[in-house]
Amino acid sequence: MSDSDKIYQEDSIFPPPLVGGKHDFHSVTEAVCGIVESKLSLKWLIVIAFSSSVLLALFVAIGWLIWEGTGVWGINNPVGWGWAIVNFVFWVGIGHAGTLISAILFLFRQKWRTAINRFAEAMTIFAVMCALIFPGIHVGRIWAAYWMFPIPNQMGMWPNFRSPLLWDVFAVSTYFTVSLLFWYVGLIPDLATLRDRAKNKFAFWAYGMLALGWRGANRHWQNYERAYLLLAGLATPLVLSVHTIVSFDFAVSVIPGWHTTIFPPYFVAGAIFSGFAMVLTLAIPCRKWFHLEDFITVRHIENMNKIILVTGTMVGYAYAMEFFIAWYSASPYETYTFINRAFGPYDWAYWTMVSCNVITPQFFWSKKLRTNLTVTFILSIFVNIGMWFERFVITMSLHRDYIPSSWDYYRPTMWDALTFLGSFGLFFTLFTLFLKFLPAVAISEVKGVMPEADPHWEGYHHDDHHAEAHHG
């Protein structure tokens, strides 16, 4: 446990500082840029070698799928949406925590977000990239994937704008683009820092090109801050709309267990729940590995655990409410679907989901547990697993629909598993590259929330402004 972790454990009525340890502006720059500027470590090379090998598995799995067709997967006639859609919703959901941290917490002026937002936004972008693969390859005839976009073509054909699947194309691609822009705008001042510290020509040119010639003029900061605020304001309704539209993929159909109005809020809560779990899964090892304990403090971890507790409880409530409505609807199909979920052939998946998503977050009522990094890390993995199973359970509603003669049991094949595993390879390869080549913590934002950043900080006015500083 580092010193700043210990300070956190001591009881105090004041919130602990946002940046732990003894830091000034220069040491913040050093701490974050040091990671980028240091030589490639053996540890990093091992991680990248491992994750890129797993990524190779994704290429193999996709290559085989395109060569042979979607028959290589376990999908069958009632279950036309197998793991591909499960993985798609899983990855999109993970992305949502990044936007919540970067946009919604920014609008609520939650200054603690500055330490983790860069990190979480990177996670968003890489997760959405993983997500986009699945519907893309699930179309089967991948050379016709451009039919999803309103591109003028020789067939004179246009997409069906009434289809929720098409809304999804627009929602997820907009989400990806806006997240990327938001991330890049946030990166510009820090890329300029790397440019100004560059020791070799290549780094100077590479970071210099990306930094666009940012030099920290106040007239630039004025437009920059306004643009950042607007992007946060745009990303907030966007992120809520994205998972709402993802839930429309299910809710607008007439399948029992899917055709419900609870889906949009329930999906959004689940997305934030799973996303925060993934942020924790990544942040806890990284802060140790890169010595970022002073920036990603236990206070950050605890705050995220509180959000996991809230959203996890909302998800649990949604599970209960689904059952209630199934009974209250008096629709035999609807009722049967839910009884079948809990006690049918997929009961193992249902109870895995309930144990991971409903029981796990309840441990965070205890301050001792939610400030314990080992416990948090283990529980975050359980939440990740549980949220994957939630999407699996929902998708498996397909296996028993209206006519018993068409019922079937879905089993994934090795290629389903390899594709899913491979998507983790893509995610971790990109994330490992990000950690090494880009500033993992938003340098200029962290400086901005330090007490010395405020021109009215009491340290600058020892004699005259004492009374005023207390009000601040």
């Binding site: 440019r195 030099r215 437009n223 920059y224 643009a227 745009l234 966007l238």
Partner: protein, 179 residues
């Protein structure tokens, strides 16, 4: 060559955000126009201290959003009811309700483009070269240094007066920068 180079302006370093804010207020009070403060992060209250008017970025965002809204509605109305009429479930060829999600997403997308590229345009980014690149100490502006510069284009610019004011305000390393 050196004698052919034009003077761009004069720059001084200040110890901390408080000193920089004070200096900006002093330059504004004396009627300077083409002065700029440079800092590693935005400083609270600096816009007022420098007497800047509000940012124009929101207007560009609004234009982007309205363009997205229009394109979204026109695209769905035209492609689905004019160019390629497709009867789905016996419903009318166009109603605004089904067009909401795509229109919404396109409005957000183009608002975001407007915001980001509008901000770039207003800030004249990318700017690969700037006269201040000739002043090596300026590199620390993205780390922990705070600067105030005055350009020769300022109507009341006078080298000696600016130098004296810098000295009075606690400016350090007062340097004339050439283009």
């Amino acid at each position: 060559m050196a004698e052919n180079r034009k003077k761009w302006g004069i720059i001084a370093e200040f110890d901390n955000p408080a000193k920089l804010l004070e200096a900006a207020q002093a330059f504004k009070a004396r009627g300077y126009r083409d002065f700029e403060t440079w800092s590693p992060f935005p400083i609270h209250g600096m816009d007022d201290a420098m007497g800047l008017t509000g940012s124009k970025v929101p207007w560009i965002t609004l234009c982007g959003g309205l363009t997205g809204l229009t394109i979204g509605l026109l695209l769905q109305w035209w492609s689905g009811s004019q160019e390629y009429p497709l009867i789905i479930g016996g419903k009318p060829l166009f109603t605004w309700q089904f067009a909401v999600p795509v229109t919404f997403e396109l409005s957000i997308l183009l608002s975001a483009f407007g915001t980001v590229f509008g901000m770039f345009a207003l800030n004249k980014l990318p700017t690969p070269y700037h006269p201040l690149d000739n002043y090596p100490a300026f590199r620390r502006v993205t780390d922990d240094a705070f600067f105030l510069s005055v350009e020769v284009t300022d109507p009341i610019f006078d080298m000696e007066k600016v130098k004296a004011l810098f000295a009075e305000l606690g400016g350090k390393d007062i340097t004339v920068v050439e283009d």
